[in-house]
């Protein structure tokens, strides 16, 4: 597969279709890292293995990568990354004609310990959507769709409010407010995040149990109806806060209330940006 990836990259870099190619490479420690390839000769840096967990669509909205001005960007996307890409397209954050999508069939990514990520165990998108991709590389794999298994969330819901509060405050107590969760998220692209605004200070910048709680509520709320569950936030978190659980809870809420799943297509508006007259209102007095 890596041969085909390199060949494709070489080709589109060589004929000038793209000026930059986003892929996976290795650093001197042997860790997989995102690589930014600008020259044909550098395609040899590309790798493909079970540690290519990065969601490279994150770099489309990176203000420091001005490559779009020079020409389209080529990118490797797995099925899960593609969902984020669809949200970005529907939110007009990236133009389809400015990217070349190389879809990769993926049979799961593993963490440093060698275990599959939870998201991979319940993955329903091993095969990228051929209609969206310019090229798809890899043999199609058959996997059972298990993405609607929310039993982990239900376990938390079964607790009473005080217990839930205690559970989360234990996690948020060690939150460093490093914002890795926000910064790695392909959909957290606001020009100025509210946590960095000081007037009014919506969220207090110092890390305390309470301040962190509000930061995480706001983060999760802002991703409601948009998050595709790629789980990069949870992976990036240095102190192991199960952020994906929060996001998945909202994925389920949006699915149940609005019959919407983010990342299904690149056209439908986010559910909080539209409405139906017959939305449920049993919670309203």
């Amino acid at each position: 597969m890596i041969g085909k990836i390199k060949k494709t990259a070489k080709q589109i870099l060589g004929d000038g279709t793209v000026s930059l190619f986003l892929g996976y490479g290795k650093n001197s420690l042997g860790d997989t890292v995102p690589v930014f390839i600008k020259q044909e000769k550098d395609v040899e840096k590309l790798v493909w293995d079970e540690s290519c967990y990065y969601n490279l669509t994150r770099y489309f909205t990176d203000k420091d990568i001005n490559q779009f001005e020079e020409g389209p960007i080529g990118v490797l996307v797995k099925g899960c990354d593609q969902k984020s890409l669809k949200v970005l397209l529907s939110e007009k954050q990236v133009k389809r004609d400015r990217i070349r999508i190389v879809g990769l069939v993926c049979s799961g990514m593993k963490n440093e310990k060698g275990d599959f990520f939870t998201k991979c165990e319940t993955c329903d998108s091993n095969n990228p959507d051929g209609e969206l991709c310019d090229v798809v590389i890899g043999q199609k794999v058959e996997r059972k769709n298990r993405e609607d298994d929310f039993s982990d969330i239900e376990k938390i819901e079964a607790l009473d409010p005080a217990q839930r509060q205690e559970l989360w405050s234990r996690y948020f107590d060690r939150c460093l407010r490093c914002y890795a969760c926000r910064n790695i998220c392909p959909l957290c692209y606001c020009n100025e995040c509210i946590v960095e605004q000081n007037d009014p200070g919506w969220v207090r910048p110092s890390a305390s149990k309470e301040n962190n709680l509000y930061f995480h509520i706001i983060r999760a709320y802002h991703l409601t109806g948009r998050c595709t569950g790629c789980g990069e936030c949870e992976r990036a978190c240095p102190v192991g806060i199960p952020l994906r659980k929060i996001n998945r809870r909202m994925i389920r809420a949006v699915r149940d209330s609005f019959d919407f799943i983010a990342g299904r297509d690149a056209e439908t508006k986010s559910p909080l940006a539209c409405f139906r007259q017959d939305d449920r209102e049993d919670f309203i007095k």
Binding site: W202, N211, H216, I217, Y221, Q277, R280, K285
Partner: protein, 135 residues
């Protein structure tokens, strides 16, 4: 004297605010634990405002707007409905008691309904807080 609660009410100018006014004029009795902020539309109530209230120590928050179909701006309250539904959902998951956050539709003519809602909200918030202090 019993300790007063601090409940922030975001009231739509076109309906609930007038409803609350009517409640006053009609001398309907309701607790004074609510502090009213007049907003041009319930759609103006950014969920951040609700969170900020909680963060600054509010015991409860009430967002009140027009009945569906009655929005002065045609559709503001429909957005509110979706937003607040999700916010309520999320707060609940983090263990912030559901009873501390309320949404209501009160029209300009529903002075009595306003008074009843405030009574109910104060009761709910009070009960939620009591549980918290117990623990």
């Amino acid at each position: 004297m019993e300790k007063r609660l601090k409940i922030v009410g975001f009231l739509c100018n076109w309906c609930s605010y007038a409803g609350a006014d009517l409640a006053g004029v009609s001398r309907f009795q309701y607790p004074a634990d609510i502090r009213v902020i007049r907003v041009p539309c319930s759609g103006r109530v950014n969920p951040l405002l609700v969170l900020k209230c909680f963060q600054e120590g509010a015991d409860g928050v009430l967002v009140s707007g027009c009945h569906p179909g009655d929005c002065h701006y045609q559709e503001g309250n429909y957005y509110t409905r979706r937003r607040m539904m999700m916010l309520k959902n999320l707060l609940d998951f983090f263990g912030i008691d559901k009873r501390r956050f309320h949404i209501s539709w009160v029209s300009a003519s529903e002075g009595k309904k306003w008074a009843d809602i405030v009574i109910k909200v104060v009761e709910d918030v009070g009960a939620a807080l009591e549980e918290i202090t117990k623990q």
